[in-house]
Each structure stands twice: as structure tokens, then as C-alpha cells.
Symmetry: C2
Subunit: 394 residues, 2 copies
């Protein structure tokens, strides 16, 4: 194979303000340099225990079954559906964005009858719609909602949904990929039965693991399955033996990634979860004030906007792709385009984890102003930055 050449790794230094990954804390990068050990080494087992406990604190849960799935956020989603859904089960899914649609697709693959609650992409799923679906069906196994819809920038309220799920004896499954460690999320207090996330968003850890938690109610449903879980890799009963006290060999945990997650969660613990959520709120609000001062329409429903990811309408006549390419190539700033039906219609600006800083709010607004001016969209110079700076108390 001597004939082939390869480039030396030398990635550009990006300011990552897209829908994820976010920038990585130096402590987290350093953690990946820690020496490799065996996955059954007593040292690694102590790190697994630590990681589970730190994850419980971040999810705000006492759930025994709390661990990172050895795959990305989508593997977490699949672990949710392949374990708790059996052919013929009725599941109610809030499909108000790209990731809600993905949940519905997964549930269908596992044989569920999917009641798909749809609304315009950018609006929440109203509790009334959930109740109507629960009433109409004889027995609903699961209600699934995306807490922070990365495709639309919407924060889904969960309280009412949780009450309804309990009332109709359905499990509540919540996707917290873009909220864990960035938005208020209290798994136990909120009555969430199953919850998964990803590492590359508000946890500011590289992508590759999916934090996962499930409570006793969910596990008792799992025990009552009539057939085996189709996926061996994501079978929770096998995974819980590996991550539990019996340490029964299942797969080889991604050790360096677990080191990284351990450190990312320690960084959160050191900052304080409440302080971190407040930081995300402040910077998200400042960014949104700045965008509105530039005359750009916020896409997500008022009162239900994420602080971790802001969706904003692209003004008429402005070239979506050219602006994003210029931001990347001239400013080293990554922002996201729209997904699915929102492609070409919105941008998605993430302020997650390490990327959620006052500096990043100001630089992305400055850069965007410049690029919009190049596109012929006229803005009162500095309006966006001024409004944001005011919000930041500067």
C-alpha cells in the first residue's frame, strides 16, 4: 500500500456555531490523551462508575440504568425505540421537525403503529393534540417528544405531556440531544421515563456516545416484552449487565470517548449545572435580540425558543449557501443550514457548551452583518451587535 499518500491531520480552527458538534473544552481534549487501559481493568470500571454518577447528576435522575450508549445520539434514539417498542404497539410521536420524523421512522421499522402528531415546523406540539391521540387509541405504549428540536429551534414543554402520559399509562420518551447540559431538564421531577442525548452538543465532548437513562417503570415494560430485542448491540438488558455490577462482557466500551465524557461532565460539575444553563439562556437571548435588531425573523414560536440553537429566517434574495460558505472560509465560523422542508429558508446558529460565549455572539453577528451587506441586504450598521451587547450587559 506504499503507493497511496495521505494528508497529515491539520484541521482548521473553527468557531463551531452550527447544530453540533460544538467546540471542545481543552480539558476534554486532554482527557483523550490518557493512557489506554483494558475495558475490564478495575481502573476503567471506576471511571465507568464515576461517569454513570456524573451523568445521573446531569440528567437529574436517580435512575440506576444511566450510561452512555456506544454510538452517536441516533444510536441513543434507536436504543429507545428498539427496546421499548414491539410490533403492533401504538406510539404517539410529536413530529414537529426533522428529528421527530426520524423517531417516527424508527418506530415504524420496529413494527409500531405510529400516531404522528404534526404541526408546522417551528411550533410546539400542543398538549391538546397529545390528549386527543391518547383518548382516540385504546392503549398507547409510548409518547415520544423531542425536547429541543435541533431542526427548528423549538423547546418543547414537557410538564403537561408527562401528566397525560401518566394518566393514560404510557411511557414518556424524550430526546434531549440539544438540551442536556444546556437547558433545564430534570428527568425525575418531570416524570420522564426514557431519555437519551448526544455528547457533541451542550456537553462539548466529541460525537460518539449517547447518554441514556431509563427508570423502573420503563424497565418493567422491558421485562414484559414478548419477543427478543432485534438489535443485539443496543439490547438494554445486555447493556445493563455490562454497565452494571455483573460486568458481563458485551462489547468493548469506547474507552477514550468515555474518558472524554467523564471529563466533559466534570467540567459541567465544576461550572455548576444551574450556572451553565443560565449562561446558555443569556447568550441565546443576546443572539436573538441581535438578530431581531438586524431585521431577521426568528423562526421558532415565541416563548418556546431554544437558547442552545436559534433558527432565523433567511431574507429574500440572500444566497443561503454562499453566506454560509463565506462565514466558514473568511471567518472560520460554522453555522447550520435548514434541514428538510426548511432547507434554504432558515439558518441555525448554535450556542452550545463551550461555544456559548459572549465573544461568539458578537462575532457571529458582526460576520453575518458583513455577509448580508455583501448580499445587498441593508442593515443599520452595528445594530445587531449593539442590541446583543446590551443584552450581555456590555
Amino acid at each position: 500500500m506504499s503507493e497511496i499518500t495521505y494528508q497529515q491531520l491539520n484541521p482548521p480552527q473553527r468557531i463551531l456555531l452550527g447544530p453540533g458538534p460544538s467546540n471542545i473544552h481543552p480539558r476534554v481534549q486532554m482527557a483523550m490523551l490518557a493512557p489506554m487501559v483494558g475495558h475490564l481493568d478495575p481502573y476503567f470500571i471506576s471511571i465507568m462508575e464515576d461517569t454513570k454518577e456524573l451523568l445521573r447528576k446531569t440528567f437529574r435522575t436517580e435512575n440506576k440504568l444511566t450510561f452512555p450508549v456506544s454510538g452517536t445520539g441516533s444510536a441513543g434514539m434507536e436504543a429507545g425505540f428498539c427496546n421499548f417498542v414491539e410490533p403492533g404497539d401504538v406510539v404517539v410521536i410529536g413530529a414537529n421537525g426533522f428529528f421527530g420524523d426520524r423517531m417516527a421512522e424508527m418506530a415504524r421499522r420496529y413494527g409500531a403503529k405510529v400516531v404522528q402528531l404534526t404541526t408546522e415546523w417551528g411550533r410546539i406540539i400542543e398538549p391538546e393534540a397529545i390528549e386527543t391521540a391518547l383518548k382516540a387509541e385504546k392503549k398507547v405504549k409510548l409518547v415520544a417528544l423531542v425536547h429541543a428540536e435541533t431542526s427548528t429551534g423549538v423547546l418543547q414543554p414537557l410538564e403537561e405531556a408527562s401528566k397525560l402520559a401518566k394518566q393514560y399509562e404510557a411511557l414518556l420518551l424524550v430526546d434531549s440531544v440539544t438540551s442536556l447540559g444546556g437547558h433545564e431538564l430534570a428527568v425525575d421531577d418531570c416524570g420522564i421515563d426514557i431519555c437519551y442525548s448526544g455528547t457533541q452538543k451542550c456537553l462539548s465532548c466529541p460525537p460518539g456516545l449517547a447518554p441514556f437513562t431509563a427508570n423502573e417503570a420503563a424497565l418493567s415494560v422491558l421485562e414484559k416484552r414478548t419477543g427478543p430485542v432485534q438489535s443485539w448491540y443496543l439490547d438494554l438488558s445486555l447493556l445493563s449487565n455490562y454497565w452494571g455490577s455483573s460486568r458481563f462482557y458485551h462489547h468493548t466500551a469506547p474507552i477514550s470517548m468515555v474518558y472524554a465524557l467523564h471529563e466533559a461532565l466534570a467540567v459541567i460539575r465544576d461550572e455548576g449545572l444551574e450556572a451553565r444553563i443560565q449562561r446558555h439562556l443569556n447568550h441565546g437571548a443576546a443572539l436573538q435580540a441581535g438578530l431581531e435588531a438586524m431585521g431577521l425573523p426568528l423562526h421558532a414560536q415565541e416563548g418556546h425558543r431554544l437558547s442552545t440553537l436559534t433558527s432565523v429566517g433567511i431574507p429574500e434574495g440572500v444566497d443561503d449557501v454562499r453566506v454560509r460558505q463565506n462565514l466558514l472560509n473568511k471567518w472560520n465560523i460554522e453555522i447550520g443550514g435548514g434541514l428538510g422542508e426548511l432547507k434554504g429558508r432558515i439558518w441555525r446558529i448554535g450556542l452550545m457548551g463551550q461555544s456559548s460565549t459572549a465573544e461568539n455572539v458578537l462575532i457571529v453577528l458582526s460576520a453575518l452583518e458583513k455577509q448580508l451587506a455583501e448580499e445587498g441586504y441593508s442593515i443599520d450598521p452595528g445594530a445587531g451587535v449593539s442590541a446583543a451587547a446590551k443584552g450581555l450587559g456590555q
Copy 2:
């Protein structure tokens, strides 16, 4: 969450001579420090292209569909079965060890009728047994074999099996978790249709990715599926769009892990694949000579022993767990115990990737001699090391 404490990462420096992970090359560890970029960043896309090409050279294939699955080796195994097996399909599986049994378990979960070829753990699957099974069944979809059985130390010959699979129009699926980058493996020349591996063995990269390749014959079988692949996360048609030229968003690739794999494959390219395989052969042979000189019985069938992992019988009266604990705690050496029916009966000593060095052969033999003496097993002092050193040309 301020009440909880966590330990600072400070893993011991182990000499990893178990069944994997192996020790990591410093260049690979450094690669994980490379700055995070977006997973659709043009820079990352160039690294994905590089990685695919480097993987093709390592697998010795021209297969277009060659990429790392975003999960560990077991996810690669599951990708093999969930995509190519449909309910009712007949599959013939060589089950001469723990991982062959795992393949059978996965195939069953996906609804296959499994013809399980069994032999004593430690022996190869004979071509005659494969032919008998192919003859007895009307139509076999897939023949699956483990090239390097990590649980027994056996190297499965593939040539005859490949001819038989072609003759009976079945696909040949090969698990190369413990052989890729360490043993001779030529996917195209050998007529392997589907092959997967893991990163933490002979590639000396952290665990977390599963190199995967499939040829056109396999893909045409995939296209003829009557139902959707149950697993969304491992659906090859979706994955090939993401890793292919359309770049259609599927999941977020584990970026730091892909950096690491890219570098690990570059290290192999720099060493030369042939030289690397020879290195594994030399050190494996020296270790085995040493163990035999110590009077320990090699467990795997003669003529079919892995150089990457040696299985050796535990002498009567010797405490399996105590010896391994002493090796770990006094010498910082990890070796593996037996799995399944071989638990307590064998040890498994890996010499994979960076761990396959002359120094490691000598130190593990010295340490083992000392620990066996403590157990009351008497050996001619230095016999193992002398025999190994002779084999190493020292």
C-alpha cells in the same frame, strides 16, 4: 450537583496484552487532539475520503462501500447481519468460539434460520462441514466465518470456504476483528463479500469504530430486500449515502475517533502492511515457542494459530484469576482470561499492533514464569525467555 466529587483521570500505564484494546501509537493519541470541525465541513469530508481509501488498502479491496461504522466491532457485526439477513433466510455460521456464537445469536434475532457449524473451541471449521451444510439446504443466503477467533486463538482458513460460497451462490461474510492489520487478509483476492473489523486490536486505535466493507455482489443482495432494514442506525443504504458522494445527513460521525483511525491507518501505511504482518508473525511465534518451552500447552489447533492472540492452557492447580491480578497489579501487564466454556481453562495473550513488540514477548514470559512459580508450578528458570529470545534472533 456540586455535592458530588469525581476523580481526576489518571489511568495506570498498562502493557496491554489482552484480547484488546492494544496499546495506542502516540501519533494516534495526538490525532485526537486535532481541533474539532463540523461533520459536514469540507475539511472533514476530505478526511473521510482519505480514511475510506486507507481502509481499502488495509482491507485490500477496491470496494466502493468501505467506511467505519460509528460503533464498536460488535456494531460492525450487527451491520453485517441486519442488512443482509431477512426473516426466513438460511445462514450457515461457523460457531467454533464465542464470537461465532454471537454471530448466530444476531442472525437469529433478525429472523434467520441458522445452521450452526460447531466444533471443539480451539479448532477450525473444516471445509467439508461447510459443504455438507450448503448441500443440505435448498438455498443458503450467507456463510459467516470468524477469521481470527479472539476467544480461542484460531485462524480460520478462508480460501476453500470462499470457493464453496461462490459455488452455492451464497455470500461470504468474514469477521476480521482480530486480523485486520495484523494477519494476511485480502478481501478481494479471497472473494470475501462482506467484512468488518474493530479499531482496538491490530489497528492500535481506541475502540469505538468498526471498519466495514461490502462488494457489489453483497450490495445487489441488499437492493433485493423485500422489507426495510430494522435498524435505522446501521442501515447500509442510509450510511452509504452519508459516507458517499451525496453526503446526505444521517448521523454525526464520531469526528475525533475518525481522526484517530485516519492516523492509525497512516501509521500502518508508513510501516508497510506486509512488514507489519511479518512483525506479528515473528512475535507471535516467539511467544508461542516461549510458552511451550515453559511446558504450557497451546490451546489452538496446530497450523491454525493466530499470531495476534495466543491461547494457552492454565496448568492444573494454578489460580487463573490470582495470576492475572498479579500480572496486572505487580507488572502492569494485562492478559485475558477464557470466555464462555474456556473460562478458567485458558489465558489469552494478545500481541496486536503497537503491543506486538519483542520487549513485550520477553516481559510477559518473565512475569508469567515468576507468577507460575509463586503458584507452585515449577519451570526450568528462564526456559521460556530463552526459547523466545532465540526465536527473536537475540
